[in-house]
């Protein structure tokens, strides 16, 4: 059996990334909530949002947040589906669809970050 094929490494990698993105998200989402709620009510006004999005460090933070949360959410969905007989019978399909949804969410959010 070919041990190094991508198929055999996908599950442990996905599991590890789920945990790692989980830890990173705990930080990033706290920061996100802090920035949008704690400074002032004006923090979520249109002007304030645009100002944040024009700063490079915020942009990077948002891209990372988007990347990690999209992966974590859709990999979580993948795990939930594979916990069912329905997902088990269609393993390849479930893996492909949930990962595509992850990429869709990420690229859509990335697109928003670019054009806003």
């Amino acid at each position: 059996m070919e041990k190094t094929s991508a198929k055999h490494v996908f599950e442990p990698l996905a599991w590890l990334l789920q945990l790692i993105t989980g830890i990173l998200l705990a930080f990033l989402i706290t920061i996100h909530f802090y920035v949008t709620h704690l400074e002032s009510h004006e923090a979520i006004s249109y002007a304030a949002v645009i100002e944040r999005l024009s700063s490079p460090s915020y942009k990077i933070m948002y891209v990372l947040l988007l990347l990690f949360v999209s992966f974590h959410a859709f990999n979580g969905l993948r795990a939930i589906l594979l916990d069912t007989n329905f997902g088990a019978k269609r393993r390849g399909f479930t893996n492909v669809v949930t990962m595509l949804l992850f990429l869709l969410a990420f690229f859509y959010g990335f697109y928003l970050l670019l054009i806003i």
């Binding site: 041990k3 190094t4 594979l82 916990d83 069912t84 007989n85 088990a88 393993r91």
Partner: protein
Amino acid sequence: MDVEFRIKRFDGSKSYWQSFKVPVRKGMTVLEGLYYIKENIDPSLAFRASCRMGICGSCAIKINNKPRLACETQIMHLGGKTVTLEPLDNFKVLKDLITDFEGFFAKHEFVRPYLIRDDVDYNEPVELIQTPKELEAYYIFSLCIKCGACYSVCPAAATRDDYLGPAAITAAYRFCADSRDRGKEIRMDLVSSDNGVWRCHFAAECSEVCPKKIEPAKAIQKMRLASTFYMLKNIFR
């Protein structure tokens, strides 16, 4: 004093509840109550039992919604005037409290629960030495009596029929952690399939209901971690 035994019965086509009045004295176990019903009220009541001392694993059933060994559960300790008995969850019910264990045993067999070595010579047998510390690494996981209680409460086992389950993965870990074993890689391949370690999400209810307190949840986490490093290291091999 009388206690009502409310039992979920199954006759092959339909399930129904039936109550029996059982005279109870202090120290009497649920299993003794079941025998009383079978011997004095309804001989058709079907349940599994053998050793009546908590070592064979036959009599695991849901007692007041929690999987327990009937022989180790004292009726008076449960409190209340009614005891509700049902067959284990996540198993196919054959009759009354008896469930089909074929799949459960097959999963156990699947992980090759025996020492695997390549130097076995029956003409020149060699004693495999093990220190007490090496024994401690896996001893508790070897105490599994295959009662099925863990499988009954596992949320992954509830929705995925081919999930190996806590008992089988614990058995795999028991051997992988045994210093005398040389089959670690074989077993890791077996439990790293997607019906194996990846289906556990640490609900840890298995450890709560195990009558032998062998901590299957702990074994599964360790097995999964070992599998991850093994599979990721393979990329660089």
